[in-house]
C-alpha cells in the first residue's frame, strides 16, 4: 500500500458516491438501533429503489443527539431528521429535491455549533463496515506516511508536541508514556488498547469502536511503530457485542488491504492485533488488572512500579492506552502536533468526547474543546434540564469521580479544574442530576458499585467499601447517626490513601464530593430522618433496597 494507492481507493469511493444525487445516512448506533433503525434503513432502501431517484442509503455510527433518534441525515442538504419511524421513509425519499419534511426536522444548530469534532469526525459519515469509506476520509494516510517518511522518534516527538493526555481518565501525558515504552529494553513489546469501558453511564469508547473502528486500529499501528511493538491487543467488554463484531471485521479488512500483518507497506514493520474479550469486571479497566485478564487470569491489579511500560504483558514492555487516546493519534499525525495543541486549554489540549446522559434534554454523544465551560455543555449543547425541574449536580468520572454542584457550572472542563473541584475528568461519562435525585443515595449507589466490583485483593478497598456501604445504607434508611457520618469521613481517607489500585483510591470520591457540596442533605437524613428529594425510604427497618443485591450481603458478612 502506498499513498498513491490510498488516493486511488479514495478517488474510486468519491466517483462511486458521485453517481448518487442524494446521500441518506441512517444512524445505526445502539441507541437508534434500539428504536428500530434497522427497519428504518430497510424501508429507506425500498423507497429509494422504488422512487427511481439516485439515492445512496448508508449505515453510519453515532451521529450524536441520541435522544432525538432514530436519526437520519440527508446530504448534500445537511438536513437532520429525528424520531423517524419506518413509516416515514417514503415521505423522506419523496421530499428529496424538494422541500424537507418540516415536522421531522431537528433544529439542533446550537447543539452542534459549540462542538468541535476530532475523534468523532467520521462518526455519522462513514459506514463502519467499509474500510474504503474510512480511507476516503483520509484514513490510514497517517500510517502510510509515517512508515514511508518518519522515524519512530519523530512520531513520539509529534505526539509529545501535541500535548495529548490519556483519555482514559488519568490524564498521563501520552508522548511521555510512548517514550518510556520505546526506551524500555527488549525485542518483544506489546501495544494494548483499553476498551473495557466499565464506567456505568459512559459509552464514548463503544461508539468510537462501533462507528469508526479503523481509527482505533490505525492509532494502535502508529503507536506500535513508535514504540517498536509487533503485536497488539484490543481488550473489549463482552457487553459490547456489536463493537466486537465491527472490530473483528475491521481487522480482517485491514489485513486484506495489507495495512496490518507482515511487512506493512513493504517496510520492515510488522504488526497485527488480536481482540480479547472482557468478562464484566470493572477493575479490569486498571492497567495491571487488564494485563492479568489478557493473560487469562483473574483481573486483580498488582503494585506499581514496575509500570507496564517496563514490565507489562508477559513481563514485556507494554503500552496501554484508552480507545479515545488512540482515536486521537491519526489526526495528530496528519495535521501536526501544533494543530492539536492549538485546541483546548493551557494544560489540557485537544477535545474530549462526553456521554451526556441523565436529566437533560439532548442526551447523547458530544465532543467539545477542552476548557469549555460546564455551563455551556449543559445549557447550550445539552439543552438544559427538562422544564419544571432544576439542575442539582453534574456527575463526571463515574464511580471514581464526583458530583459538581449547580453553583459551580462556570468551571472549565479540564483535567486540573475538575480535579480541583473534587471530581475527575474520567473517561467521559457526564450524568446530569436534577432535584429528584438524592445525593446521599447517589453516593451510596457508587459505593455499592465499588463494593461489588472490588477485586478483593487489598483490605482497605474490600472491607472499606463494604463498611462505607453499610453506613450509607443506615443513613439512607433513617437509622444513621452523626457518629456514622464521622466514621464515613474517616474511612474515606483510609480507603483513599491505602488502597492498592485506582479503584480503591478513587472509590471514596463520590462520597467526599457529595459531603463537600451537599452536606446539608446528609444532615437532613440524620437529624430529621427526611430525604429532601423523596428518594430514600426512611421508615425504620425498611427492606433492603433493590440496588443492594444478594451478593452485597455476603460481602458485608
Amino acid at each position: 500500500m502506498t499513498i498513491e494507492e490510498l488516493e486511488q481507493i479514495a478517488e474510486s469511493v468519491r466517483r462511486e458516491n458521485a453517481n448518487f444525487d442524494y446521500e441518506v445516512s441512517v444512524c445505526m448506533d445502539l441507541a437508534c438501533a434500539s428504536q428500530g433503525s434497522d427497519k428504518l434503513r430497510d424501508a429507506l432502501l425500498r423507497s429509494a429503489e422504488a422512487s427511481g431517484k439516485k439515492v445512496l442509503v448508508r449505515r453510519t455510527g453515532c451521529m450524536g443527539p441520541c435522544s432525538h433518534g432514530p436519526l437520519v441525515r440527508v446530504d448534500p442538504d445537511k438536513t437532520l431528521y429525528g424520531h423517524v419511524s419506518p413509516g416515514r421513509a417514503q415521505g423522506i425519499v419523496d421530499s428529496l429535491g424538494g422541500e424537507p419534511v418540516a415536522e421531522l426536522q431537528c433544529e439542533l444548530n446550537e447543539h452542534f455549533d459549540s462542538q468541535m469534532r476530532v475523534v468523532l469526525e467520521n462518526a455519522g459519515y462513514i459506514d463502519p463496515e467499509k474500510i474504503d469509506d474510512y480511507i476516503a476520509r483520509e484514513g490510514y494516510k497517517a500510517l502510510v506516511t509515517v512508515l514511508m517518511e518518519m522515524t519512530p522518534g519523530g512520531v513520539i516527538h509529534r505526539i509529545t508536541e501535541s500535548g495529548l493526555r490519556g483519555r482514559g481518565g488519568g490524564g498521563y501525558p501520552t508522548g511521555l508514556k510512548w517514550g518510556t515504552v520505546a526506551k524500555a529494553a527488549g525485542d518483544v513489546k506489546y501495544v494494548v488498547c483499553n476498551g473495557d469501558e466499565g464506567d456505568p453511564g459512559a459509552f464514548m469508547d463503544r461508539s468510537v469502536m462501533e462507528g469508526d473502528p479503523h481509527r482505533v486500529i490505525e492509532g494502535m499501528a502508529l503507536a506500535a511503530y513508535a514504540v517498536g511493538a509487533s503485536k497488539g491487543y484490543i481488550y473489549v467488554r463482552a457487553e459490547y457485542p456489536i463493537a466486537v463484531s465491527r472490530l473483528t471485521m475491521a481487522l480482517r479488512e485491514a489485513r486484506r488491504r495489507g495495512l496490518l500483518g507482515i511487512n506493512i507497506c513493504n517496510t520492515p514493520f510488522s504488526f497485527d492485533i488480536e481482540i480479547r474479550l472482557g468478562a464484566g469486571a470493572f477493575v479490569c479497566g486498571e492497567e495491571t488488572a487488564l494485563i492479568a485478564s489478557i493473560e487469562g487470569k483473574r483481573g486483580t491489579p498488582r503494585p506499581r512500579p514496575p509500570y507496564p511500560a517496563v514490565s507489562g504483558l508477559w513481563g514485556k514492555p507494554t503500552l496501554i492506552n484508552n480507545v479515545e487516546t488512540y482515536a486521537n493519534i491519526p489526526p495528530i499525525i496528519r495535521n501536526g502536533g501544533k494543530w492539536f495543541s492549538s485546541m483546548g486549554s493551557e494544560r489540557s489540549k485537544g477535545t474530549k468526547v462526553f456521554a451526556l446522559t441523565g436529566k437533560i434534554a439532548n442526551t447523547g454523544l458530544v465532543e467539545v474543546p477542552m476548557g469549555i465551560k460546564l455551563r455551556q455543555i449543559i445549557e447550550v449543547i445539552g439543552g438544559g434540564v427538562p422544564p419544571g425541574h432544576t439542575l442539582k449536580a453534574v456527575q463526571t468520572g463515574g464511580p471514581s469521580g464526583g458530583c459538581i454542584p449547580a453553583e459551580m457550572l462556570d468551571i472549565g472542563v479540564s483535567y486540573d479544574a475538575l480535579m480541583a473541584a473534587g471530581s475527575i475528568m474520567g473517561s467521559g461519562g457526564m450524568i446530569v442530576m436534577d432535584d429528584t435525585s438524592c445525593m446521599v443515595n447517589v453516593a451510596r449507589f457508587f459505593i455499592e458499585f465499588c463494593m461489588t466490583e472490588s477485586c478483593g485483593k487489598c483490605i482497605p478497598c474490600r472491607a472499606g467499601t463494604a463498611q462505607m456501604y453499610t453506613l450509607l445504607t443506615r443513613i439512607c434508611t433513617g437509622k444513621g447517626t452523626m457518629d456514622d457520618l464521622a466514621l464515613i469521613e474517616d474511612l474515606c481517607v483510609t480507603v483513599k490513601e491505602t488502597s492498592l489500585c485506582g479503584l480503591g483510591q478513587t472509590a471514596p470520591n463520590p462520597v467526599l464530593s457529595t459531603l463537600k457540596y451537599f452536606r446539608s442533605e446528609y444532615l437532613e437524613h440524620i437529624a430529621n430522618k427526611r430525604c429532601p428529594a423523596g428518594v430514600c425510604h426512611m421508615h425504620a427497618g425498611a427492606e433492603a433496597d433493590v440496588f443492594a443485591p444478594a451478593v452485597s450481603q455476603e460481602v458485608v458478612a
Binding site: L30, A31, A33, S34, Q35, C66, S67, G69, V188, E197, D199, P200, G201, A202, F203, R206, S230, A238, E239, Y240, R276, L277, G278, A279, G280, A281, F282, I294, E295, G296, K297, R298, G299, W314, G315, A355, L356, T357, G358, K359, T363, G364, Q395, G398, G429, I431, M433, S437, V442, F445, F446, F449, E453, C455, D545, V546, F547, P549, A550, V551
Partner: protein, 206 residues
C-alpha cells in the same frame, strides 16, 4: 517430517530459552523456528477427549485450538462455553482446565471472578434491567421492583418453573435512552414498569 513426541510446549520453550509459550509462538511466527520443530510442538500435546458427542463441544474445542491450547486462552474458551451452553457447569470448567493444562482452582477462580460468567443455567427467557448510573438516575430501581414483584424473585435468579431469569447489568452503553431493559438480549430504551410487565406477560402466554 521430523516429529518431536512426548515433549510439552513449555519444555520446548525452556529448551529454546524462551520465557513463555507465547514468545515461542511469536518466535515461530517470525520464521526463526524451523517448520518441522513447530509441527512437532503442535502434535506433542494431545488434549483430552470431548466430554460427549454434543456438537457444541466442537465449538469450544475450536476456540481452544484457534489459540493453540495456550493457557492464556482460558477466558476466551470460557466465553465460547457460555455462548454455546448458556452457562458454565462443573464438567465444562473441568474439561477446559484439563485441555488448557490450567489448575482447576485457577479455572474455577476465573469463572467465578468475572460477573459475565454464570454458573447456573439461565431460564427460557432472560430479562435484564440495566443498573448503570444513567439508568439509576432515570429510575431503573422502579423497573427492578416491578419485575421482582411480578416474578417473585430477586435479580440473579430464575423463576421456579424455569421460564424467566431476572438479571441486572452494569451498563450496556445505551445510557442516552435510560432506563434500559434487555429482553432476551434485545435492547430497548426509555422503559416504564408497565412496558416491563407487558413484556413478561407476552412471555407468559407463549
Amino acid at each position: 517430517m521430523a516429529r518431536v513426541t512426548g515433549v510439552t510446549v513449555a519444555a520446548i520453550a525452556r529448551t529454546l530459552r524462551l520465557e513463555s509459550q507465547l514468545e515461542l509462538a511469536l518466535w515461530s511466527h517470525s520464521g526463526r523456528v524451523p517448520f518441522q520443530i513447530w509441527e512437532g510442538i503442535v502434535s506433542a500435546f494431545i488434549p483430552p477427549p470431548l466430554p460427549s458427542d454434543d456438537k457444541r463441544w466442537k465449538i469450544v474445542n475450536g476456540a481452544m485450538r484457534k489459540n493453540g491450547f495456550a493457557r492464556h486462552a482460558l477466558i476466551e474458551t470460557l466465553h465460547a462455553v457460555q455462548s454455546s451452553f448458556g452457562y458454565l457447569d462443573d464438567n465444562a470448567i473441568r474439561f477446559v482446565a484439563l485441555s488448557l493444562r490450567v489448575p482447576l482452582s485457577q479455572a474455577y477462580g476465573v469463572a467465578t471472578f468475572y460477573h459475565y460468567f454464570s454458573l447456573k443455567p439461565p431460564g427460557k427467557h432472560t430479562l435484564t434491567v440495566c443498573a448503570g448510573t444513567a439508568c439509576y438516575i432515570k429510575g431503573a430501581d422502579k423497573l427492578i421492583a416491578a419485575a421482582e414483584e411480578r416474578l417473585g424473585i430477586v435479580p440473579g435468579h430464575t423463576t421456579a418453573d424455569g421460564q424467566v431469569s431476572l438479571m441486572t447489568a452494569r451498563c450496556v452503553g445505551a445510557c442516552s435512552r435510560a432506563p434500559v431493559m434487555l429482553a432476551d438480549g434485545e435492547v430497548t430504551g426509555e422503559r416504564t414498569s408497565e412496558q416491563l410487565i407487558e413484556q413478561l406477560e407476552r412471555w407468559a402466554v407463549e
